[in-house]
Each structure stands twice: as structure tokens, then as C-alpha cells.
Amino acid sequence: MNRNNEPSKSGADAVIDAYKKDIDVTLIRENLRLTVDQRFQQLMKLQEFAEELRQAGRKASRTSD
């Protein structure tokens, strides 16, 4: 128990609570409006974009050498 007579949170709970402060709930709400299939299609588009960014980063670091 803590000073307010509430159950003490575990270390993991404290970390989870800290992460929750940075969660963009609007993104979650948008995702929940999609079908499961649409969520996977969106994930694959995100993967493609992430790969494009990685390639652009590699190209930029080569040209700056």
C-alpha cells in the first residue's frame, strides 16, 4: 500500500502507465473504425514506407561520405 492507501503498482505497471501518457488515442480510434483486413493492409503500406525511408537514409549517408 502507498501513502494514499492504494495498492502499490509493480515496476511493470509504472512503466506501462508512463508509456500510456504518450499514446495517440486518435490513431487507435481511427484503427478501430477499420476492418481487420484493412488494418493489415495499412500495416503493409507502413512497412513499405519504412523500407523507403531506410533506403533513403542509406543513400544519404553514402553521398555524405
Binding site: 500510456k20 484503427n31 478501430l32 477499420l34 481487420v36 483486413d37 500495416l43 519504412a50
Partner: protein, 161 residues
């Protein structure tokens, strides 16, 4: 890039018994986080392992991160001798898990699943509460970050219900 639809179709069309877990399961439940591979828990009986080997042989599974040229025999015998395999295939990254911490194997986990439809096929996926539980047990910083989002999703879905 991992073609989730292609992998799920191969597994389902070959009647492989499996459960989607990990980041792909989080996506199914509405997570906005990027995941690069498909994690599945597969049933460990010999007939299911046989179907799994048949299902994936066309996409040439190989150990992810292993040096090129390292011999890897994609066979029932190999899968029976091991438990968890991190693979790369022609259609993306796939983790085959015989069991997961906090969830056990297929038979223990199957009661904590929902059926989802992806790419025209129906698959079992760990339910939101089960996913939160196993991510908490995994306990790495990235898992706890995912738990934070999943708990937010849970409260959003409960709010809408």
C-alpha cells in the same frame, strides 16, 4: 516486406492449425505500431507439423539471420527436433513458436482466441486480453510499450460497447 495475406493463405489453405500472436495480433486488435514479421503458435502434433512443412515449402523457409549457405533442412524432422524457429521466406519474415511465455502451446492458448478474417481467409488470433497477458509476461520494454497501447485499445472498445 512481409506479405501477411500470402502467409496466412498458405497456412490456412493447407489446414495448418495455428494462432496469430505478437505484433500481427496487436495489429488485428487495432494497434498502430509497426511490426515486420508474422508470429504464430503452431500445434505440435505430427500431422499438423506435416501440413506446416507442406504449406511453406513453396516459399523456401530459411533461418533468419543465419549465414548464407548454412544447411537448413525444412522438414518434419527438423520441426520436431526444435520448438521455435525465426524464418525468412520468399514472402517475408515468419516466427514459428511451439509455445510462448505466459500462454503455453497451441492447446493451452486456443481457448483465448478469436476468429479474424484477413486476405479472404479465417484465422485464429489470440484475443486482446490474452495478448495483454503474454506481453506483460514477456516484459521487455517494447512489450510493456505495446501493453500500454493494448490496454488503451481495451478501454476504448469497452467504452464503445
Amino acid at each position: 516486406m512481409t506479405d501477411f495475406g500470402a502467409l496466412l493463405r498458405l497456412l490456412t489453405q493447407n489446414r495448418v492449425e495455428f494462432i496469430i500472436v505478437g505484433g500481427a495480433a496487436a495489429t488485428a486488435h487495432g494497434s498502430a505500431r509497426l511490426t515486420l514479421d508474422l508470429d504464430i503458435v503452431y500445434k505440435r502434433d505430427t500431422s499438423n507439423i506435416g501440413r506446416l512443412v507442406d504449406a511453406l515449402s513453396s516459399v523456401q523457409p530459411y533461418l533468419r539471420g543465419a549465414p548464407p549457405g548454412l544447411p537448413f533442412d525444412w522438414s518434419v524432422e527438423t520441426l520436431r527436433k526444435g520448438l521455435n524457429f525465426t524464418l525468412i521466406t520468399n514472402v517475408g519474415a515468419l516466427d514459428l513458436l511451439g509455445e510462448i511465455a505466459g500462454g503455453g502451446g497451441y492447446d493451452q492458448l486456443v481457448s483465448e482466441t478469436i476468429t479474424i478474417e484477413v486476405a479472404g481467409v479465417n484465422c485464429l488470433c489470440i484475443n486482446l486480453e490474452g495478448l495483454i497477458k503474454v506481453k506483460r509476461v514477456a516484459g521487455r520494454p517494447k512489450d510493456l510499450e505495446t501493453v500500454a497501447e493494448l490496454e488503451q485499445i481495451l478501454s476504448e472498445t469497452q467504452r464503445e460497447a
